[in-house]
Symmetry: C3
Subunit: 259 residues, 3 copies
């Protein structure tokens, strides 16, 4: 875990009494509850139940890093309400983009979600199929966002906003662009400006013919050096549930600073 993020968790737990906090944070109990809840969440049949248990599991996991700052200062922070993790989901132009709405849905259960789509992706999925509370940004928005000197750039603001980014599906072409540091659309500008202290995950969707080409490994190694997490899939893109599990896994090892 990155130095500093322990403290930033403190604000979330002011809703607990200090004594409760101390109890829950005993390592063994916390660890047991965490795995118990995560297991229950995975087995839940309705999205609501899964979401509920995942949230509990998530809160508990964060508790393993108790609010040191809070305990030291001995007073309530100004803004005691914890916020949801902010997840930026992005889609490229490949066949698996038809699963993008499903991916958005899964994360909406417990996170704030914004979506980004490349121009090429728009013929591979119906933008109307995305969950109502997920706003979709395209290159058109980037153009409209900046009007005159002094205006902000959309890709920079989305970089600031997001705690974590997932590109699923990622196309072979966008992978090549990322591996080459290109930034010619909203998605690749976000990637080029990304702070790799925050997690970025990718789920590649390429045909077997492209997969076996030497560039696939070469480019995956390049983005690995940047600090990007690759979500392997069997044959094609990993399933939305696998993508979700990978994100949960990453968040367990690198909790987000949700202040």
């Amino acid at each position: 875990m990155k130095k500093g993020s322990v403290f930033t968790y403190s604000k979330r737990y002011t809703i607990f009494e200090r004594s409760t906090l101390a109890l829950l944070c005993q390592p063994k109990l916390s660890c047991f509850l965490h795995f118990f809840l995560f297991g229950v969440a995975q087995d839940s049949e309705t999205p609501e139940l899964r979401s509920c248990f995942l949230c509990l599991s998530y809160i508990l996991q964060a508790m393993e890093h108790p609010g040191t700052q809070y305990a030291q200062k001995g007073k309530l922070p100004m803004d005691p309400a914890p916020r949801k993790p902010r997840i930026l989901l992005a889609a490229c132009g490949c066949v698996a983009a038809f699963k993008f709405a499903k991916i958005c849905e899964i994360f909406c259960d417990w996170a704030e979600v914004k979506a980004v789509a490349t121009p090429a992706s728009l013929r591979f999925f119906n933008t109307a199929s995305l969950p109502k509370n997920v706003y979709l940004y395209t290159d058109e928005h980037e153009r409209l966002f900046w009007r005159k000197v002094g205006d902000k750039m959309l890709h920079i603001e989305l970089c600031r906003w997001a705690d974590l980014m997932v590109i699923a599906p990622l196309s072979a072409n966008t992978l090549a662009k990322i591996a080459g540091g290109m930034c010619d659309n909203l998605l690749t500008c976000i990637v080029r400006a990304w702070d790799y202290n925050k997690p970025m995950l990718i789920a590649l969707d390429v045909h077997t013919f492209m997969w076996r080409n030497p560039f696939t490994e070469k480019h995956l190694m390049s983005v690995d050096e940047l600090g990007v997490n690759f979500i392997p899939g069997s044959d094609t893109m990993a399933e939305p549930s696998e993508i979700h599990s990978s994100v949960i896994g990453v968040l367990q090892s690198r909790p987000l600073p949700l202040n």
Copy 2:
């Protein structure tokens, strides 16, 4: 020659009696006839004669790898007719694209030909000038080909179809894209999905100013590593006849599996 391709030739020669085959395939005779016919083809003054002798030479060359499978099984295959080699010709946006129709014509003499053109190439040649039996694919076709999940992708189907690919003319920009593993149009998607067990040849068309730039050598070395054959030209793109000879040369050392 790649393992396995010896056997796949077998179907072509079922039109010969077994005894004839045995006779013709005596190494010394076959070799003599091959060089004789190839020489005659090169000296032929009309395209028809050249085409005719090249075909004979080509058949004979394949015969040096007699139908082992057929000889072993001792019975006729289901489809005894040999097929023509399938050659995919591609053009990029550079001045020499005005010779693309000529290149298509030469190969039509003895092969099935399909053509691919980048968007940038379309202002450098008249698509109506291509031989009538050569179908030209552009990015527009790629878009129309895939309509819904389950549909095939044109670049994958063209990869499957082709025995050999020739990019002539290849522009400096497409060379850079190939050397970087980019795939943002039909041509580069085919290249990214290409099986390099099948030959790919390139004839570069760049101005002297671009040629002397260090990127030319760098990129040519990168694609050489992939297994691409570079057809050198004097000053600009190699002449259609030189491109044709290079292809023949490659096919002589790496006969196609024409089953």
Copy 3:
């Protein structure tokens, strides 16, 4: 200084008597005058004065390489008038492009200026704001310039024309393209065809978020290997005056062959 360029200066100085030339070219005097005039130019408050002194300084600097050829031949060349340096200025799509008109203005004081703009840059500055005597070339011009086989290519002609090129602002994306040898628009075609015996300078304009990304350094090192001079700026693009000083600095160490 490159071998050969000493001689090409010769035509400029036929307006001086041979004896005056000999006097002015005494190393110490020339050196003193040069620094004196350059200092005066830097301190000048009006653009006209600055321009005037810079020109004098420039002429003097060239004189340190007297017209050897002329002296040897002992007769006047046909075209005794020296010409102005030809500077090609280029802008990419980034916020600092609003300073492009200012950059053009500064160089117009003492040089012939042509401008090039990428498609992405056109929404970041008003093309009507450029000085009247600066012609702006875009991809549209490249398309219109070449009509049929035999026509010249605009990017090649601009390469021939220019003595020196400055890309200011340079975007992260165009930097990546240059570092990868791509050439998909007029600007990057010029760069790909550039003769690096002639100076090229770049002033990068990227947001802090992009700057800290490892690709920035990687790409700057790549273009440095090509022979490109990087003009550093504090936080964002260097100021027009800093860009101007950098160009003057480069010209002092690598005088142009203005024949």
